[in-house]
């Protein structure tokens, strides 16, 4: 049991006892950390405001047997706009929920941490319709489940010999007409997903909201849910009824 320092993003928190909270953090060096933040629900708490979900903080923690204890927390990066809009806040929470599912306790998660911080920064500075979807697609790739997009994931046939018209993450990605199953895939959505995973992320993030971005977002949620075998509640709440 000892003191340690790390950076982290608060993924979520639970009320504990009268005035405490358990915060779930994503840190680069220690992966997912569950820690008790004592007295943070009291108005005079020095660190309560810094440990709200989505906060990016510098931490001093005391390692415990089951739960660590937050000793100090300093804001590493203030999000100026993220918390002022319900949609942006919900999008941030959707990414935090997914990150919590992927991160493991005690396993360093540098790449995931960097990806989440960059995604939150993008959401704060220039929010577009594909920030959450892009994060989900990148998360799939990071977790070793990046989809096959250049050819049919089932039979291997490539365009222009075949058209890729469907998408099923369980099959490995895009599918041709003969092998189609899962969700329908439009050519425009196929191109957008290829941009996100093929090095043109900035270009994809500039795309304005349309039926294609909604399709890409839906495919990302469905695929990540299938991969995690878990329902993503916050992402589903964002989808139009």
């Amino acid at each position: 049991m000892s003191l340690y320092r790390d950076r982290g993003v608060v993924l979520r928190s639970y009320k504990l006892g009268e005035a405490d909270r358990i915060v779930v953090l994503l840190t680069p060096e220690h992966g997912k950390v569950r820690a008790v933040a004592k007295g943070v629900r009291r108005p005079k708490s020095k660190i309560g405001g810094r440990l709200e979900p989505l906060s990016h903080v510098e931490l001093l923690l005391w390692g415990g047997k089951e739960l660590d204890i937050v000793r100090q927390a300093e804001l590493a990066e203030p999000w100026h706009f993220l918390r002022r809009d319900l949609v942006h806040l919900s999008r941030g929470m959707a990414m935090a929920e997914a990150a919590e599912q992927v991160a493991q306790e005690g396993e360093p998660a540098e790449a995931l941490y960097v990806m989440l911080v960059k995604a939150l920064r993008t959401l704060d500075e220039r929010p577009g319709p594909l920030v959450v979807a892009s994060f989900y697609w990148k998360l799939l790739a990071l977790d070793g489940a990046g989809p096959v997009l250049g050819s049919c994931a089932n039979c291997g046939a490539s365009p222009p010999a075949v058209s890729l018209v469907a998408f099923d993450i369980a099959q490995g990605g895009a599918l041709c007409r003969a092998c189609r199953r899962g969700e329908p895939l439009s050519p425009a959505a196929h191109e957008l997903v290829s941009w996100i995973l093929g090095g043109s992320l900035a270009r994809a993030l500039e795309v304005p909201a349309s039926s294609t971005t909604a399709e890409v977002a839906h495919l990302a949620t469905v695929s990540l849910e299938a991969h995690l075998e878990k329902h993503l509640r916050t992402a589903r709440a964002l989808e139009p009824a």
Binding site: R12, G17, E18, P43, K44, K46, I47, G48, G49, R50, E52, P53, L54, S55, L75, P78, R83, D85, L86, L89, S90, M93, A96, E97, R233, T234, R236, A237
Partner: protein, 209 residues
């Protein structure tokens, strides 16, 4: 290990929020060592609270049941049934205990509406599970002219307030919507305030001259 009634008491106490096995054991022993009338008073108080307390049909605060006043549509709490409270101003809170906290300040003279929670999709709490539909219905029916949003200044409370502001815009009535200020606690020192609180305190600053 213990006689069955003792173990049952420990088990029941252990199911209460914030009470662990050790605390449950300590409270059970305290009850067993107390005079019989003290234990009976506790049992009666629990029983009376459970049978005589219900939700106010108007604001969803706690209300005492009164069979003589109940016409089948439920009862009203002391605040809603008080003719001296201003019905044109509604203070929206998350939980009944927040009503108590505001009442202690003695400043607010309007009525309340208790949402029975705050939005938290990650925990499976959506708008449909809260008393939002009932709040929207009250505004026009009761001629409410101002709503004060007094949700917790945390992520769930802020999301709930933002959601309500969006919903109020669809109402066909002119409504003043205000939100309690977020800022520095009285008696604290500026240097210990966190950046988020300080930012919000500066944003919510007001003209003094």
């Amino acid at each position: 290990m213990y006689a069955t009634p003792v173990q049952e008491l420990i088990d029941e106490l252990g199911r209460l929020p914030g009470i662990g096995p050790k605390s449950a054991q300590r409270i059970a022993f305290h009850i067993l060592k107390s005079p019989a009338e003290d234990a009976a008073r506790l049992a009666n108080a629990v029983n009376a609270a459970k049978t005589r307390v219900t939700w106010c049909r108007r604001c969803f605060n706690f209300a005492e049941t009164d069979p003589s006043a109940d016409d089948g549509t439920g009862v009203e709490c002391d605040i809603c049934s008080n003719p001296r409270r201003d019905p044109s101003v509604l203070c929206v809170v998350e939980e009944p205990r927040h009503v108590v906290a505001i009442e202690k300040s003695g400043w607010f003279k309007g009525r309340y509406h208790v949402l029975m929670g705050a939005l938290s999709p990650i925990d499976g709490i959506f708008a449909e599970q809260l008393r939002i539909k009932e709040l929207l219905a009250r505004i026009e029916a009761e001629g409410v002219s101002e709503v004060i949003l007094c949700t917790d200044p945390d992520q769930e409370g802020s999301a709930t307030a933002m959601y309500l502001v969006r919903e109020f815009k669809h109402l066909p009535v002119k409504l003043k919507v205000t939100k309690v200020a977020v800022g520095l606690p009285v008696g604290s020192e500026l240097e210990f305030a966190d950046e988020l609180t300080l930012t919000m305190a500066l944003e919510d600053r007001r003209e003094v001259s």
